[in-house]
């Protein structure tokens, strides 16, 4: 997941709480199995809490890359 380029990106920089996880869950629904979604955000709570809990509920593995002030939150759609 770290090396592979994401198939789709979601830019929610500057947005705060319900938005990142709502947009991500909407986008993930439209994606195919095996694809990676990259969520760009600078909202710490989204990285710490809401996006991980979204992934845990869906059972999707994820990883976080820190990029300066931004986070790249990559989610692999598995099923």
């Amino acid at each position: 997941m770290k090396i592979k380029e994401p198939d789709d990106t979601l830019d929610v920089v500057g947005e705060s709480c319900p938005v990142p996880e709502m947009m991500a869950s909407k986008k993930l629904k439209k994606m195919k199995i095996g694809q990676i979604l990259e969520v760009l955000t600078d909202h710490q709570p989204a990285v710490d809490v809401t996006l991980p809990s979204l992934c845990k509920n869906l059972g999707y593995p994820y990883m976080i890359l820190k990029d300066g002030d931004l986070f790249r939150f990559r989610i692999l759609k598995v099923s």
């Binding site: 319900p18 809401t50 845990k56």
Partner: protein, 413 residues
């Protein structure tokens, strides 16, 4: 049986300066902890519908339960007279349900309840500044357009109780008494289900996470593979060491507070205010009357416009200052300090400008909703659980409905 007293008497002898100061301190703690714990009532509710996670909603119920337990026990053991618990119970009525629905919808659209709006605005989220401004306008719209009608129904008792206080105090409703025993028993009737339900929701969600991870991702060793070096992977260290490290990280502001830690501190903060303000003033944490109404009034004062002289609601509901004013100002200072010291502070403007418009409109709905409901998620819902009333349940129901609608609408946008 004699009617319960409605006379407040100072419980502890403090000067007004001390009360204002301690309320300011409680606001600081509220802002600091909410910021560090990313405490968001709206998020707790949206996550029920978006990610099917009940973890944060469970924490919310736990917060209400612990608050009710704390204030109830203090009252039952006579530390604080019962009158201080029910004196500021509001009128219940149609407007709480309607208002909380509008509030929930607006807040979930705009991205912040009254608490998270303020601490995020202080952490540099422009979206929430605009929401705050929208809320001020919404309060004005409410004052002019809705309040005259609403106060008429309140006085006439149309779908409304005509007075608050002990009339809505659950010990009085259940046992027709405000004696220590009645309060004691009611405290447990209110607090225990909330606490147990909260713990159960959290347990269930965590359990499901464990299962879904074990089942669907066999080849992956650690789900949380952090990209950047320098952050230790938690799996390597032993649990005792990890706890010590966690505490250190939290004190050094490197790590946010966990949901349940924040819950406990916030419940204690509410109980602290309950004690400090007893006999003097509204002795609960409260935000709304200040951020939407009072600050709008204050901003206009230097321009020579005094809303309190002629505008409905502003001229009969809002003292010029009260301890909650300083509480809200210090909430912002606390949230700013926490975000600044942790390095999180940054002016953030959403890229999608549509969000700013939604923020403003959502803020207006928040302003209208909270005023109709006579308080927000803190000053009415959370507070009312501490008051052992039933308005909190109505508010919770309405807010959940509003949030659900907002989630559905957001999915379409």
């Amino acid at each position: 049986m004699a009617t319960p007293s409605m006379i407040l008497q100072p419980v502890f002898s403090e000067t007004w300066a001390v009360i204002f100061g301690l309320f300011g301190l409680s606001g600081f703690i509220l802002g600091w902890v909410a910021q560090r714990g990313n405490y968001c009532f709206i998020n707790a509710m949206t996550s029920i519908f978006t990610t099917k996670s009940l973890e944060r909603f469970g924490a919310l119920l736990l917060l209400f339960g612990l608050t009710a337990l704390g204030t109830g026990i203090l009252t039952a053991f006579g530390v604080v007279p019962a009158v201080d618990q029910y004196f500021y119970n509001y009128f219940a009525g149609w407007y709480i349900l309607v208002g909380s629905f509008i509030f929930g919808f607006g807040a979930a659209m705009a991205g912040g309840c009254n608490l998270s709006m303020l601490y995020r605005a202080s952490s540099g989220y422009v979206q929430n500044w605009i929401e705050l401004f929208g809320m001020m306008i919404g309060t004005y719209v409410f004052a002019v357009a809705i309040w005259p009608f609403q106060s008429y129904t309140m006085q006439a008792g149309i779908l409304s109780t005509t007075s608050g206080g002990y009339v809505e105090y659950l010990p009085y409703l259940l046992f027709h008494s405000t004696s220590s025993l009645a309060v004691y028993v009611t405290t447990f009737i209110v607090a225990l289900p909330l606490i147990l339900l909260g713990v159960y929701f959290q347990w269930r969600t965590r359990n499901r996470w464990g299962k879904s991870l074990g089942g669907s991702t066999p080849g992956l060793p650690g789900i949380r593979a952090l990209g950047s070096p320098g952050i230790p992977t938690p799996a390597e260290t032993s649990s005792g060491l990890r706890l010590k490290q966690d505490v250190k990280d939290m004190l050094l502001l490197r790590k946010p507070y966990g949901t349940n830690l924040s819950t406990i501190i916030l419940a204690l903060d509410m109980i602290f205010v309950f004690l400090v303000g007893a006999g003097y003033t509204f002795n609960y944490l409260v935000i709304t009357s200040s951020d939407g109404g009072r600050f709008f009034e204050y901003i206009l004062m230097p321009l020579g416009i005094n809303l309190f002289t002629n505008t409905p609601w502003f001229n009969d509901s809002l003292p010029i200052v009260d301890p909650s004013t300083l509480m809200v100002v210090m909430l912002c200072v606390g949230a700013f300090s926490a975000s600044y010291l942790s390095g999180d502070f940054k002016i953030r403007i959403p890229k999608d400008k549509k969000r700013l418009v939604i923020g403003f409109l959502g803020g207006m709905l928040v302003g209208i909703g909270v005023r109709m409901a006579l308080g927000c998620n803190v000053g009415l819902m959370w507070t009312n659980f501490g008051q052992l009333g039933y308005d909190g349940y109505i508010f919770l129901l309405g807010m959940l409905g509003g949030v659900y609608l907002a989630v559905k609408v957001q999915e379409r946008l």
